[in-house]
C-alpha cells in the first residue's frame, strides 16, 4: 500500500512509516508566531529553559495590531522585539512587513514537503506550496521553543477535486465558499485535504492560497496542492532551504474523494454568522452595506488588487459605504503602487491602511458598530469577529466586494455592467 502526502511528511520527521491515527512526536521545520509571541514567551519562561531550542526555525512577525493601537499592544510588541534580540531569532519581521501568512510565503519559508506549524489557525495557507502546515496553540509553541518538538496525529486524507473551468469572474474564493457550504464547517474535521483537479491546476499561486487558507474553515488539519511548474517558478530565487516535493502514491489510502463541478458556479457569499452559511450572491443581493473590507490573508494579494482596481477605475464608491483597503504585505503594496492600483482605489474613495490584519479580528482600523453590515474578503464571519457582536459580516470575493462598494449594496457582478 502506498502512502499519502501527510504520511510521508510526518513519517520523514518521525523516521519511520506512519499510518492514520498514529501520534508522532516530531520536530517541525519552521514554527511561526505573530503578536501572540509575547504571551508565548511568558509561558516559555515558566518552563525554565534559558535558550530557545532552535532559534533559526522560528519566524516571528508583527501583524495582528500594527502599528500598535494602544499602550497594551505597544508593550506587547516591545516585549517581542526584546525577546527576538535576546534569543538571536533572525527571522523577525516588524510592523511594516505584512500579514504573517503572506510574509512566510513571500520570504520563501513555505516550501514543498516541509512541516510548518504556526500559532494561528490559518497556518494551513502554506499547503498551496505543497507544505504540510497546521495551526497550534500558544502553549504548544512555548513547548516547541523549549524542546523543539510537538505531538501530531497522522490525519486521514480527503481528496477534493474541482472539476471544470470557472465561469468569467468566478474566483478561488467563490469555489472555496461553495465547497465549505457543501461540506460544512466540520466536513473535514481533523483531515488532511488534498485539493486537485483541472480548476486547481489552472489557478495562480495567489488563488491557490485562498483555498488552503480557508481549509481550516471546514475543520481540516491541513490543506495542500501538489507542487507544479507554477509552484517551482514562484519559489525560484525565493526558497530559503533545499526542498523536495512530496506527492501521494497512486495507491495510497484516500478516505473520501469528493468532486465539485464549478463550470456553472454563480458568485458565492457566506452570510452571518458562520462560514458554511453559504448561498449565491443573487439570493442576498440588495442588502445595504456600511463597509467593505478588502484585506486579510485570504484575499489582498496583487491579483486581487488588479480585479478591484479594474472595477473601480474612474468611478467613486457609494456615498453611504466605506471601503477599507489593506494590502496583505509591503511587497503587495509596493507592486500595487507601481501598477497604479492604489491610485485608482484612493481616487475612488477607498481608505488605505498599512499592511496587517486590521479589523479582521476586531482589533482596530475599521471595527464595526452595532447593526452595521460589512462585506469582507476575509475568511471568518463569526459574531464579534469585527469587534462587535451585533454587526453582520458577509464574506465574498474581491470582485463581488468591489462591485458592491460602488452600489452600496450586495451586488451580483453579473447584473452589473462594468
Amino acid at each position: 500500500m502506498g502512502q499519502t502526502f501527510a504520511e510521508k511528511v510526518l513519517g520523514r520527521l518521525a523516521g519511520k512509516r506512519v499510518t492514520p491515527g498514529e501520534i508522532v512526536q516530531i520536530s517541525p521545520d519552521y514554527a511561526m508566531s505573530h503578536d501572540n509571541t509575547a504571551a508565548i514567551v511568558k509561558t516559555w519562561r515558566q518552563i525554565g529553559v534559558k535558550r530557545v531550542k532552535h532559534a533559526d526555525r522560528h519566524v516571528v512577525i508583527l501583524d495582528h495590531c500594527v502599528p500598535a493601537a494602544n499602550e497594551k499592544f505597544a508593550q506587547n510588541h516591545k516585549e517581542i522585539r526584546e525577546f527576538v534580540k535576546e534569543q538571536g531569532i533572525r527571522h523577525f519581521y516588524d510592523i511594516s512587513r505584512g500579514i504573517c501568512h503572506q510574509v512566510l510565503s513571500e520570504e520563501g519559508f513555505a516550501l514543498p514537503g516541509k512541516l510548518i506549524v504556526g500559532s494561528d489557525s490559518h497556518t494551513t495557507t502554506y499547503g498551496a506550496f505543497g507544505a504540510f502546515s497546521t495551526g497550534i496553540g500558544r502553549s504548544e509553541m512555548a513547548a516547541i521553543m523549549a524542546t523543539g518538538q510537538i505531538w501530531l496525529r497522522t490525519p486521514e486524507t480527503i481528496k477534493i477535486e474541482a472539476k471544470g473551468k470557472a465561469p468569467v469572474g468566478i474566483s478561488a474564493k467563490d469555489i472555496i465558499l461553495h465547497i465549505i457550504g457543501a461540506i460544512g464547517a466540520d466536513g473535514a474535521l481533523y483531515k488532511s485535504v488534498w485539493f486537485c483537479g483541472e480548476a486547481i491546476d489552472a489557478m495562480t499561486i495567489d488563488s491557490r492560497m485562498v483555498l488552503t487558507n480557508m481549509a481550516v474553515e471546514m475543520g481540516a488539519k491541513n490543506g495542500y496542492m501538489e507542487p507544479d511548474d507554477k509552484t517551482l517558478a514562484y519559489l525560484e530565487g525565493r526558497a530559503r532551504a533545499e526542498f523536495e516535493p512530496v506527492r501521494s502514491d497512486p495507491d495510497a489510502e484516500i478516505e473520501q474523494h469528493l468532486q465539485y463541478d464549478i463550470s456553472d458556479l454563480p458568485p458565492q457569499i457566506a452570510c452571518p454568522h458562520a462560514v458554511d452559511n453559504v448561498c449565491s450572491v443573487e439570493k442576498v443581493a440588495g442588502k445595504k452595506i456600511d463597509q467593505v473590507f478588502f484585506g486579510s490573508c485570504t484575499n489582498a494579494r496583487l491579483e486581487d488588487f488588479a480585479i478591484v482596481a479594474k472595477v473601480l477605475d474612474g468611478k467613486k464608491i457609494h456615498p453611504s459605504t466605506r471601503l477599507i483597503v489593506i494590502p496583505a504585505s509591503s511587497q503587495v503594496l509596493e507592486q500595487a503602487l507601481q501598477s497604479g492600483y492604489i491610485d485608482i482605489l484612493v481616487r475612488a474613495g477607498a481608505t488605505l491602511v498599512n499592511s496587517g490584519c486590521g479589523p479582521c479580528m476586531g482589533n482596530h482600523e475599521g471595527v464595526l458598530a452595532p447593526q452595521e453590515v460589512t462585506l469582507s474578503t476575509s475568511n471568518r464571519n463569526f459574531k464579534g469577529r469585527f469587534g462587535c457582536k451585533d454587526a453582520e459580516i458577509y464574506l465574498c470575493s474581491p470582485l463581488t466586494a468591489a462591485v458592491s462598494a460602488l452600489t452600496g449594496e450586495i451586488t451580483d457582478f453579473r447584473s452589473f455592467t462594468l
Binding site: N36, I47, D120, S121, G135, G137, A146, M361, R380
Partner: protein, 176 residues
C-alpha cells in the same frame, strides 16, 4: 483521576472561539480572573456570572471551531469548569484543552441527552458520564496524550520531561 460533578450548560453545534473568547480581547485581557469573566461573552452573557466550580459545558458538533486561540480553553479552566462534553471538537480546540489540562470528552449523544441545569457526573477513569437520561461511556484519551493531561497540561508536562520539578514551579510562581 477524579469524578467531576456539576451543572449542565447546554449549547448547540459549531460554537466558535470568537463567541467563547472574543478576538478583541486576545492581547488585552491576560489575567486569569478577568479571562474567566469574558468566557462566552458573545454567546451567553449569563454564563460567566453564574458558572460554579465543576459545572460542565455540553455541546453539539465541532465545538471550538475557528481560531487557534487557547484562551478559549483557558478561560473555562480559569472559570473552574469541570469538563467540556461535545459530539465532536475542532482539532485545535481539542489540543488546547489537553494542553490546558481541561477534560474535553467526545460523546456522540451530546447534547441531546442532557438538560440545561441538571447535575451530571463524569468519571474520567472509567470513561462514564451519568445524567438523568442514563449512563454513557466515552472513549478514553489516546495514550500518547494522556500523560500531558494527567500532568495538568503541556507546560507542567514539558517541565517534568526536561527534568524541572513542578513543585518548584508553584513556588516560583508564588514568588512572581
Amino acid at each position: 483521576m477524579q469524578i467531576i460533578t456539576g451543572r449542565v450548560w447546554k449549547y448547540g453545534d459549531d460554537i466558535n472561539t470568537d463567541v467563547i473568547f472574543p478576538g478583541k480581547y486576545t492581547y488585552t485581557v491576560t489575567d486569569p480572573g478577568e479571562m474567566a469573566k469574558i468566557a462566552f461573552e458573545d454567546l451567553d452573557p449569563n454564563f460567566a456570572k453564574q458558572v460554579r466550580p465543576g459545572d460542565i459545558i455540553v455541546a453539539g458538533k465541532n465545538f471550538g471551531c475557528g481560531s487557534s486561540r487557547e484562551q478559549a480553553a483557558f478561560c473555562f479552566k480559569y472559570a473552574q469548569v469541570g469538563a467540556v462534553v461535545a459530539r465532536s471538537f475542532s482539532r485545535l480546540y481539542f489540543r488546547n484543552c489537553i494542553n490546558a489540562g481541561l477534560p474535553a470528552l467526545t460523546l456522540p449523544q451530546s447534547p441531546d441527552i442532557f438538560q440545561s441545569g441538571e447535575t451530571i457526573s463524569v468519571d474520567l477513569q472509567k470513561g462514564i458520564i451519568r445524567c438523568t437520561a442514563g449512563e454513557y461511556s466515552f472513549p478514553p484519551l489516546p495514550e500518547a496524550v494522556l500523560g500531558i493531561f494527567l500532568e495538568g497540561g503541556l507546560i507542567p508536562y514539558t517541565r517534568k520531561a526536561l527534568g524541572f520539578s513542578n513543585t518548584q514551579s508553584a513556588e516560583e510562581k508564588a514568588g512572581e
